[in-house]
Symmetry: C2
Subunit: 178 residues, 2 copies
């Protein structure tokens, strides 16, 4: 899977449709993965992403301590791994090992990219004002990667309790919005 750098101002289009993502971190030599649906774009340039990471999650500690992570965007082919990552805790499981996912070195952060995901966003915490109250982090995307061979990524979108909507057709409308 050959990936190329994606210009940062284009990163928003990956997250705006609301895909389930895999948040990867590495802390004290332990790489980890968390399944996440609570995220939103907050700014185009530099790209800012707001997201909620529950304080109960192993990832919360790693993210807070290292201030960095990768947002990896999986497609439907990875749905069993997405669910497996959500059903387990990094405190007891090495999810890369257990679920056959491949860590790759990121360029600017210490957290690993997940090779099997069609896009990866390297992030650093930009603002933690709302972390104490809502477990909400504002992340800045500092480097973005995309596999351009996948021109219609079938992302998955959580509808609650194990139901997921799979991305359908793409339509073009006369929008003046970015």
């Amino acid at each position: 899977m050959a990936k190329e750098a994606l210009p940062l101002p284009d990163a928003y289009a990956l997250l705006e449709p609301g895909p389930v993502v895999l948040l990867s971190t590495a802390h004290k030599g332990k790489p980890n993965i968390m399944t996440m649906s609570w995220h939103t774009m907050m700014e185009f340039e530099p790209p800012l992403v707001g997201c909620v990471v529950s304080g109960n999650n192993f990832t919360f500690r790693a993210l807070s301590a290292t201030q960095q992570c990768v947002i990896n965007i999986p497609t439907v082919e990875l749905s069993s791994q997405v669910v497996d990552c959500g059903n387990t805790s990094g405190s007891t499981v090495d999810k890369f090992e257990a679920f056959g996912l491949t860590p790759m070195d990121a360029e600017l952060v210490e957290a690993p990219l997940i090779a099997e995901c069609y896009a990866n966003l390297e992030c650093r915490i930009a603002d933690d004002q709302l972390t104490g109250r809502y477990n909400f982090f504002v992340l800045e995307v500092v480097k973005a990667w995309i596999d351009r061979s996948n021109d219609n990524p079938r992302t998955i979108h959580h509808r609650g309790y194990g139901t997921f909507m799979v991305a359908g057709e793409t339509i073009k409308l006369p929008s003046k919005m970015r």
Copy 2:
């Protein structure tokens, strides 16, 4: 379109898949609608939603002044209205009138529900700490409505520059996540 009240703890499943929504407000007798994709769930109970409303938008003033709004969730049948609402400003256009949308009284807030949308979430601002810096509002959903006759709502999801992904099939996976 008959709507029933949706229990508030179930509201998250409407927004988590990342649909484009229509944010409605009313200020000084002027109802208005804004198209929005930058939103995320932040808490289940009470349901909290974080969203970005650009300071350039007419809606920003109305929301800031009234502290309330409705998040309306359209399906693909309304896509031309969704785009029309995004391409125009409430400073010059009455969007309900211009685009044939029907305002309905909300129960707990002063902003109108959009009748044609299959679900509507009445909201009040819960936290504006990040409004000055990021135009980010934390909203509390105080009342939720849903049209139960639509059991597979084909929501639309913005991919940038007028391209939208239309919700595809729903799959069930063995997730232990809520």
